[in-house]
Structure formats: C-alpha cells, structure tokens
Point group: D2
Chain length 407, copies 4
C-alpha cells in the first residue's frame, strides 16, 4: 500500500492494481497536464493537475465502494477505472479536445486502445483485470459505470472541491463525504438515498455557480480559443499529427507552439498573458442558428470572411461558439417517499438551472485588443448580428466590471 | 484599538465607539446566547454565540464602509449599529422570539429603548452617537440601514460562513469578501456592481441550502417547539414576566426551566436530548388555510383538543406551524448592463427559490415518542388532514432516512 | 449506526455500545460544559464543548483501532473509554478541578464510580462491557490505556486541532491523521513507527505553542482564578456540597454563583468580563519555593495577609500558583533504526521544551484594576518578592503588549 | 487596481507600479516555474508557482507597510521589490541554482541587471522607480530590505502557509497575520513587538518541521540531484549556455532535457518518476570534512571514481552533499521587557533548532535501484565511510518506513 498526501483529501491510500497503475508512464504523464488548462490565467493558483485529480477520484471511488459494500473483482475494476478515467486527456485537458477529436475521432474518455496496450495494458493483465471492462467503466457503461461517469459520479465530486481549493472560489465546496455516504443502488440505478434532495441540489448548484465564474470565465474562454487555434495551426505542419498531439503533455505542446514559426506568436501571447479581447459577446437569442450549429469548416470560413472585411490578418479573428446548453445532470435520481425520482421533477432549483444555463450562454468573437472595434463591426455585418447588444465596444460601459475583472 | 481573534475572520480590529460598546454588559451578555439555539442538538459543534457573530458583522460592516468610502459620523453610526444589531435577542436567539413578541410586542431588532438606556445609552452618548439613529439603522431604515439589515446586509454574510464553519455543513461557504467588494450605492439603493449576478445568486442559494439542512432541520424545529412551549408555561408563573425573560441569557432560561416545577420535564428532555418526535409532517397543499393562519390561541385550542382526543396530557401535543413562505431576499438588486435590476428578474435560480421554499414548507405535530401514533391520528381527525401523506406513522418507511438522521 | 456531523472531523460514525452511551444523560450533560472554560473570554469563538471533543476522541480512537487491527471486545472497551473519558469533568472543565479535588479527592478521570452506576452503568452492562475495565482505560492503565490517556493518546490529538479550529490560533493544527496512521505497539508500548521523529515533535511543539497563547493566556488564568475563588466561596454555603458541584454543568454553576449573595459579584464580573488585573507577575527564579509549594490553606493565609496589608477586602486578592513545570509528554516513544527510543533522547527540540516550560512559568497575584498597585506592593512585602521584575506596575511599559492584548 | 483571487490570501489587490509590473513577460514567466520544483514528485498537489507566491509576498508586504505606516516612495519601492523578489529564479526554482550559479556567478536574488533592463526596466522607469534601489531591497539591503529578505521577511511568511496549503502538510500553518501586525522598527531594525516570543518561535518551528518533511524530503532531494546532474550535462552541449538556461522556464528545461540525447534518460526518469534510490545515507559525524567541503570538481571526481569502482556507468552515481547546517533565522529580534533581544537568547526552542538541524543533516549517494548495493559499497570504500550506519542496504530494515513513504 502506498499512502499519498493530498491537499484536498489528506491521506489517500492506494492499494492493489491501482498501486501498480500509478507508476505507469501514462499515469505519471498526468502530472504535467493542468486540470483546468488556461483557467490558470484567471486564477493564478489553479495549477493542479489531472494526476492529483485522478488520485482524488480513485479515493472517492474507494470510499463509495466501501459504503456500497462492493468488493472483489468488481471493485478492483471500478477502482482501476476511477484512477485511469482521465488518462486519455490531451495536453491542456479539455482545452483542445475538440481539435484532437476532429482529427482522431476520439474524446478523452475513449481509452479502450490506451488501456489495452503499453504499460497500462501489461499492468492490468498482470493484475488480472480486463482492459475492455475498465474502458467501458470509464465511458460510464453498465450499472457500475455510473459511479465513474454519470450524473452522480465521483469525478465531479472531486473536481468541484479541488477546483474550489485551488482557485479560491468557494462555490464548489460541496459536502462530498455526505454525497458518497448517501449513494445507493436501486434497481440497477445509482441514486441518493431518502432525504437527500438538498444534497443532490447542492451538487448541481455548485457546478452552476462554478461554471460562469471559473470554467467559462471569459478570459479562460479567450485563452482556450487562442490555444485551440494555435493547435489547429500546428496540425497543418507536416511533422506533427493529431494522435501524437493527443499524447503530448502541457510541456510538449507549449514548447512545440513556441518552436513552430507559424504558432510562435500565439505561444508568446499565451505565455505573457497578452490575450485577445472580446469584439462580440452575444446572448443566445441574438445569435442565428446557422452560426450556433455551424461545423468547423463553416466557422473557419466565417473567421476568414470577417478578417477580410475588417482588413486584419486571418489569425486575428477567432469565433468561440459553445455547444447549445444541455443539462444531463438534472436527471440525477433521488429517493423520495420510497420511490426513485428524477431530481429535476423534485427540485424547482434544478429545473431553473436549464434556463440559467441558457441565459449564461455567450457567443464570442475575439481579436487583438487594438482591433476589437473593427473586428466587432465586421463580425456583426458578416454574421448578421444586431450591433446593439452584441458588440462589446457598444456596451463596454455596462459590461465593464465583468470585462475587466481578472483580465 | 482592540484586536480580537475570530475563528472565521481571523483578526478583527475594534476601534472607536465600538471598542467601548464591546465592554458593556448588554454586549457581553451575547457571549451566553447561542447563535443557533437548539440547532446544537443536531450539529454538536454549533455552539457559537451572538457575541462572535456581532463582532463578525461589525468587521464586515467596517470593510464594506471602507470599500464604499463612507467615513466619519455616518460610518461610526453604522459600525455601532452593526455591533449592536443583535443586542435585543432573547435567550436562545430566535427560538422563543415569537413567545416574547406576543407578550412584549417587540422583536429582537426593536432596540430603540435598549440602546437609549443603561450602559449602552451612556456609552453612545459619551461617544457622541445618537441612539435613535443607531436603532433606526438596526431596523434597516434609510440608505445605510440596508447595510445592516436588508437583502444584501453584512449580517447574513457573516452568519452563513459562521454557521458553516461551526456546523460543518459547507453550503454556507459564500465568497463574502467578494460580496463586500462589489457592494455599491446607486440612487440610494445598495446593489451589487456589474458582473455579479452569480455573486448575488450564491448568497441566496447558500441560504436556500442551509435552511432545510441546518436552520429548519426537523430535530432543531422539534426542540425549538418544545422550548417555546416551555417558555410559554414559564410565563404563566407569577414571578416571571416576558420583559424579564427577554433579557435573560441561555443560562438563566435553562436553569429557570429546571427549577420551575411545571417546566422541569421540558428542561430535562432538552438537556438529555430526549425529544418529542413527529406525529404529523404535512406539506403546504395538505394543510388547510385555517390552520396555517391560526392565531396563537386557536393553535393552543387545537393542541388541547388533539390531546383530549388522543387521551394524552395537554403538554404532549405541540403544533409547529411555520409562517407562509416569503422570499424578500430575492429582491436583491444587481447592476446589469448599466441598469439596476432586481435579482429575481435576472435569475431563474432565484425565481425558483420561491417554489423551492413552498415545497420545503412543513407543518408538524410533535409528541413523545410512545404517543406519536395516537397523537398523529387524533391530529388528523381534529385538523381534518388526509391521513395518507401527512401521518408520519404511515410513511415512516419512506421517510426513514430523513427522520433518523442526526436524531 | 448514528452519523454525526462535526466541524473538525466532518462525519463521525458512532456504532455499537458508543451509540447507546451517547444518549445517556451523563454524556448529554457534556454539551453544556465548555471545553476551554474561561478561555472564551480571550478567544470569543472558543465555545466548543466536552461533548463534541468526546465524539472526536471516540472517532480518532476508532480510526486508530482500525489501523492497529484491534477488534472485538478490546476495541469495544477502548471506544467506550474514549467516548466517556471526560464524563467526570465538572463545570468549566479543568477550571475548578483543583477545588473539587480538594473536597472530593477525585480528578475528572477518576470515573470508576460514575461509569458503574446510573444510566452509564446500565448501558455498559446491557452492552456486555465491564465498567471497571472502561474506568481503568480512562485512567490510562494497561497497554491499551495508552491510547486513551498517555503521551500519544488520541485525546490530545483531538483537542489540539479542535482548539485551533475554534480559537482561530493555528498553532494546534497538527497532522492528526498521520499520527494515527503511524501508531503501533512494540513490546506492549504505544510508539510511532520508524521515520516519525518530526511527527512526534510536531505534537509536542503544537502544545508548547498553544500553551502560553491559549491555555495559559494571562486573561484566561485570571478569570479561571476568579472562578476558582468563587467556587470555593460557594462551597462554604450550607446547601451545596462538592460532590454536587462536580456534577453541575456550566449553566448550573454560573446561575448558582449569581443567586448566591456571597458570589454574586464574581458572577457579575465574569459575566461582564470586568476582570481582575495582574498585580504581580513573577518568573520561576523570583518566587520562593515556600510559595510555589504552599498548600491551599497557606495560600489562603497569604491572600488574607496581603489583603490586610493592602487594606483591601479579602476577596480582592487572588494568588495564582501553577504547578512546577513537568514534561511527561517528552517521553513519547518513536522507532529509530529499529529500536524503540524516547523522543526526548532523539529530539533536541523536545529537550528544549523543558527549559521553555520553565521560562514560561509565571506566578500571579490578581486584584481589581484600581487596587493592583497597592496589592502588588503588599504582596511583594508579604511574600518577600523583589519588587523590580515582579511588580506589574513597575514593568507595565515593557509588558504592555502582552498585558493589553485581548484584554 | 487589479484584484486577483488567490487560494491562500483570498483577494489580492494590486495597485500602482506593481500592477504594471505584473504584466511584464519576466513576471508572467514565473507562472511556469513551480515553487517547489521536484517536491511535486513527493506531494502531488504541490504544483503552485513562483507567480502566485510573488503575488502573496507583495500582498503581505502591502499589509505590513500599512501596519508600519510606511507610504509614498519608500512603500512603492518595497512593494515592487516584494513582487519582483523571485524574478531571478531559474527553471525549477532552487533545484538547479547551484549549477547556474557556478557558471554565471549569480544567485536568484541577484536581479540588478534583470530589473534594470527589458520590460521591467522600462516599467520601473515609467513608474518613477529606481531599479538599483529595487534590486538592493531584493537582496535585503538597508532598513527596509529586511522586510523583503531577512529573518522576519514576508517571503517566508507566504511560502510556509502556501506550501502547507498545497502539499497538505499542516506544519507550515503559521499565524502570518499576527506576525505582520506585530512587526515594528526599533533603531532601524525590524523586530516583533513586545509579547511575541511565541509568535517568533512559531515561525522558526514551522520551518524546522517543514524542512525534513517537505523541502528536504529524501525523494525530493534525489530527484533534485538528478535534475542538477542533467542540467550540468546539458550545459556541456555547445548550443546552450548557463545564462540562457537561467532564463528558461520549467517547460523549456524539461523539453530541452528530453530532446538532448545525453539527457533523455534523466528526463524520462524524472517524467515517469523512475528515480534513483539511496545507496548511502550518512549523518554528519560519519562524513569526513573533506567530503562535506569538497568543491564541485572534487565531487565529480569522487562520482567517477565510485562509478569505476562499482563498475557502473558514470551517470549512475550521484553525490548529494548539503551545505553545513547554519541557522541565520535564529537571530530574529523580539522586544522583551522593552529591550530588543535576539530570539535565540530568549528561546530555548530556537537554540535547540541548531542542534536539530545538525541531526537532520544527511549526506546521500544515489544510484539506479538495481545498483544501490554495489554503488553503496564502492562509495563507502572510496570515501572512507563506515559501512555500518551509512550504507542504506545495511540498515534498510530499520529505515524502511522513511524510505518507502511516498516513494
């Protein structure tokens, strides 16, 4: 048994297969992948990594298993999946996941290949664990997959408290121990036991508050969009392919961006926090569906067209279109008066989250500071946006506080 | 200047009039009044007092004044009001406030008389402060009164974090420093500056989660109802009047209940945590308006009638009817795009709180454990309740988790 | 199983005999005994009680037992002893223990009688536990007694972190989880495993820093001395005896002091924090052995003599003579290179603690503020002290910061 | 004014020159230099950077200045120095400082050149600040230099609490706010005001406990020694010089080590935590002076000689010789009875720290795991060490717990 000191959960005991898996190069690589990517440019203390998060998820999974009375082979597979659940992350975590997905067809939780091969594959085999079963759990399959990836999974319990601890934003401070203790399986579904409507609400509300404040903070979104654009550029170079890029760590990627002439400027801007600013910042009702649902190539076309219209370099215009709001977590299940119910049915707060998410949705067009005015007007033109209410230059007085905060 | 170490805000500097006020017997008495009364029977660590809370409110008021640039005479009055805002509390804080109010016509924030007289009056005078003005601020009057008692007051910022710290329930962990920094006055109204919809939401959501979990926890409600009943009984004794009762501290009251033969049993039950249990636990739609809106005397009649019907002692039946849900806080104001707006208009989450509050509302009938079945049926009869869905004995299997937790 | 939320250890699970013991009136009484007595007059947040501390000690004991692999009957007795270890405390914890001991011959850990009788006795019997064995463990007897009361006991692990949490003084923030994990039995002795010299040091250093800052803070000592004197006075009344006093809670005692004419003034002074001040404050080398070793009656004679010499009331002079420094904890044992060694032999820091304790030792004479000068000079005369260096009025300029802080 | 959220000090307000300095590339680079270098391989959460630490030091300096009443030009220079104090750090902070120092003659606090030139130079000039004066403050010169670099500087107040927060090791949890409040200048010396012997002790004891547990943890030392050796190797390459190396960030260095064939193996080992182990671990009295005082070249000779004797590759033997213990901090000054005194004179605990430091001193010889036995014996031979008591292979049973913990 190895005991590891963690800043969030204090002592974490790692045993069995997990202990061996921890030492694989694939897991150790997660030490060099920041949990929150460019959020660190907004919250300077947010330098925690996927490695410590993975340990935390493993720890919470172990505790949940012990409370649920799950042991033996099933437990060993779940613990392995908990530890390995983020091993498929590319550099800067989710930041460039859409780019690598477009080129490789794989998201970070598609780890079947990764856990079947290399040191992880060998280790699982040596420990008598089935890589396919572990990969399925990582994707949330089956009854026990819900513990690793589902509405009530231990993944989000860990990241909320961990991100709160490291950013200093207290909204994520949930009662994870209570959540763990109240988990139970009813008819093959993972639910919270009787008397836990508030417990379930607290988890969703924590995320709803962390989202705009941390995960989708405008500066984090801008820097992420810049990183994404730079990564796309990098992939046009002959000697780097997306599969390779996906296996880099943060260190590799930043240095690659620095060394590659076509991405040096982005690398430099990110490194010195000389970021683009918002030219357009538009709410959901003000953005045509054709833009919201545009595919990558169409978006790139828009960007080029706007750049031409504004008479700026092509890389000076970045569109940032978040996916349409969706709220899968609101289907968490809780027991109420002996029946299993969907949280959304029980909780007006959770119902309201759907609307809140729609209200918080923002479409952004970013450009170097000196060009935001010009790019903003060109973008409004090209995209057919109403200037009033979408152009940052128009509403700057009102938006001031949000715009400048932590910028 | 006095520096005081506080478990929540670390070092608190008390200066000027506040320093002198701190030493008055009226303020020192707050050391012996628990902030959360009987909540301590649910959360054993919740022994914090109105004294430390008052220091915390003073501290946050000082910080807010410094951020708002308010100085001199106005600031001195506000700081005094912040420190003194709870000096009118009776023993066990809010627990028996309805009883003393019925007999004295005064709530805890009606302090005009209290601060005009005695050591506080002398101190205020010596410090050149106007007691009337201080009392008005405590009641939330005027522009600056909003800081002391209003939708965005420093009172609730302190109590949420303090109650979280001492109960161990993290839901109250708001970002009070951010709230303080974003306060601003616009057209005489205290609002949160641009970019703070989430900040404002977080305050209301924190309370919405603390409410059922801490402040209205069933066991806290039961013990509070028992204490209330005991206090009423005590006031029927010839030698104790309500004005005197209101100026007692927790120590005086508990010992008075012990020594008085007609209240000994309640005192004993509370001291040994041998509490009544729920016989009826009914949701808002299941309770007739005539009960919800019943005056004290009518309630007492119901209790007697039920006791008779159940053939138990009169003191074995306690009705607990919370006020109808109301959500004044949701009118907090925030700046959005340069306009002052009501939070409720901006935030679907805050809109949902109204519904949530209605859903959480519960009417209770309590009785000694052995008599809950009998009292429940009698109460349903007398009050015309639907047995199914209100009688705890009927739904016990489903309610189990809630009922037993921390009981 | 009952789960209780604690502000220090989060969720505490209470099972088996402990669950039944928790509900006894004797345990519930600890809810009304402050852990640190009058320290609350220095650190206003320090209102935590022996009840929550007892739960914490039980919790740490359970964890230690699980790490040590101790189960069954032995574990049940140890857990019961951990929970009950403070049940013998009188009101205000240690504050008046010397008084009750003089009259009853019993310290707080002499619980043999207490656990053999009443509800605790019945509960232990019903649970198949032997009261004698539990009482012996509370006194630290036998191999397992070391866990409950010894150099490395879980009692001090809990109180250090708990007192730090509630006072706001961080010095007590030890790594209790690490300590628990490293406990092991070697040849019947409880020791810390290899590699834990620093772990052991940290425990002793935490106490060495908490001692003068919290436990022996001058204001806490003064108010404790006043309380002691008041309790002695109370015992001269015909209707109160020491055995009864010892079973009071804080509420009973404070109200008794209020109601009894001869102690009203002390009660009033303590309630309004109108405390005596130091007239003499002398270091170990400046105090004759005859004073340090004086018995109670001799001390009372000194007090009367000084009062007469100073021409003040007898109750205006209080001598406060701490026991001679002794450092039993420094004999904690740690494993070093496979051998069991005394910490003191291994650690120069721990060796130095003995000297530090001697340097921190202070003899005090206290009096009402207006009389400190007069009482100080009279005390110096009567006790044969060197005025220079012991009389607070002489060194006040130098002592200023210490004297005024938190006063 | 910029407000930045910090996980340790909550909101940090950056104003004036500091705000402009924060945006310089030189400061932004500190975002990519871990505060504790390879300690992250022992404590996975320890990923905090010199950037957030610099902000923290600036924050504490501002608070100290405000308490000390220092304003205007002096304050602006001190705040700039506080923010810039670590700008001279090379990659991995102190880890390879001895290497770059040998080649450049500069330690990290030699920033005169750095702050006079480039963006920092321009910014200081634009803000009317004198780079020479700032550089002198960073080196601790003059009365005010003591605040930035001295026995009671704000640097160590920040790093102790920050390192505790991020490692999870609580020993560094000092009362920094109290320290700041008690700072005062007496005769041009920075001292702690009367009544603060324990406050001063707590600072030194915190460091004394953090040292072996965190800063000098064996695994951190081994990985640091490996990194040092790799950096030396890198400098033998034609295209990298030490001045350039010193200005790299962690990202540059790790990738450079990866790409350079002669250092790939070290890079790989560090990245996968496949570390050398201890072959020799010797206490101060067991190591000849000739080794302790050996210059770099002599050490390199020893390493080669041992490798030859053990018949292993030259890079398989690393000697790790810490400097002789020295305890400059113990000269912190505190006021006692109106006189300024050296802490060491007042505090037996601080006196003991010198001895403790000598006892904790260890000389190490490291080698790949499979070769520790062979290298250990060869080293003992070559260096003339007593095998018993220095050879890890001999004492492994006893050392077990220490050796394996967190390895």
């Amino acid at each position: 048994m190895t005991t590891i000191k963690d800043s969030v959960h204090d002592h974490i005991e790692v045993e069995g297969a997990a202990e061996a898996l921890l030492d694989t190069p694939e897991m150790q690589r997660l030490r060099r992948i920041k949990q929150l990517g460019t959020v660190q440019l907004v919250y300077p203390s947010a330098n925690h990594t996927r490695f410590e998060h993975s340990l935390g998820v493993y720890h919470l999974a172990s505790r949940a298993l012990s409370h649920l009375g799950i042991e033996g082979d099933a437990a060993a597979h779940i613990e392995a999946a908990a530890l390995l659940h983020d091993v498929g992350h590319g550099p800067y975590s989710h930041n460039i996941e859409s780019v690598t997905h477009r080129h490789t067809g794989k998201y970070h939780d598609d780890v079947e290949e990764l856990v079947a091969r290399g040191t992880i594959g060998e280790t699982l085999e040596a420990e008598g664990l089935d890589p396919k079963r572990v990969a399925a759990l990582v994707e949330g399959d089956g009854e026990f997959g819900q513990l690793v990836s589902g509405e009530l999974d231990v993944d989000r319990m860990d990241y909320l408290v961990r991100d709160a601890h490291h950013t200093g934003v207290p909204y994520g401070t949930i009662d994870h121990e209570r959540l763990i203790r109240e988990l139970t399986f009813v008819d093959g579904e993972l639910v919270l036991a009787e008397g836990n409507v508030q417990t379930a609400e607290s988890l969703l509300l924590a995320r709803a508050l962390m989202n705009p404040t941390v995960y989708q903070h405008p500066v984090a979104r801008i820097s992420k969009a810049m990183l994404r654009r730079a990564a796309e550029q990098l992939l046009t170079e002959p000697d780097i392919d997306a599969h390779e890029l996906r296996r880099m760590d943060d260190y590799d990627l930043l240095v690659a961006l620095r060394l590659n002439p076509s991405t040096t400027e982005f690398a430099e801007r990110l490194a010195t926090r000389d970021l683009y600013k918002r030219a357009v910042w538009a709410e959901l009702p003000n953005v045509p569906d054709s833009i919201i649902d545009a595919e990558h190539d169409a978006v790139a076309d828009f960007e080029r067209e706007i750049a031409a219209a504004a008479d700026v370099d092509a890389e000076s215009v970045i569109l940032d279109i978040p996916p349409r709001p969706s709220m899968t977590e609101s289907s968490s299940r809780v027991m109420v008066n002996g029946e299993m119910r969907q949280l959304e049915r029980e909780s007006p707060l959770v119902q309201a989250l759907r609307t809140a998410q729609e209200q918080q949705w923002r479409f952004g067009v970013y450009a170097p500071e000196a060009q935001t005015e010009r790019v903003g007007r060109a973008a409004a033109n090209v995209l057919g946006l109403d200037i009033k209410g979408t152009l940052v230059s128009e509403v700057r007085s009102g938006l001031n506080a949000t715009l400048d905060e932590f910028e």
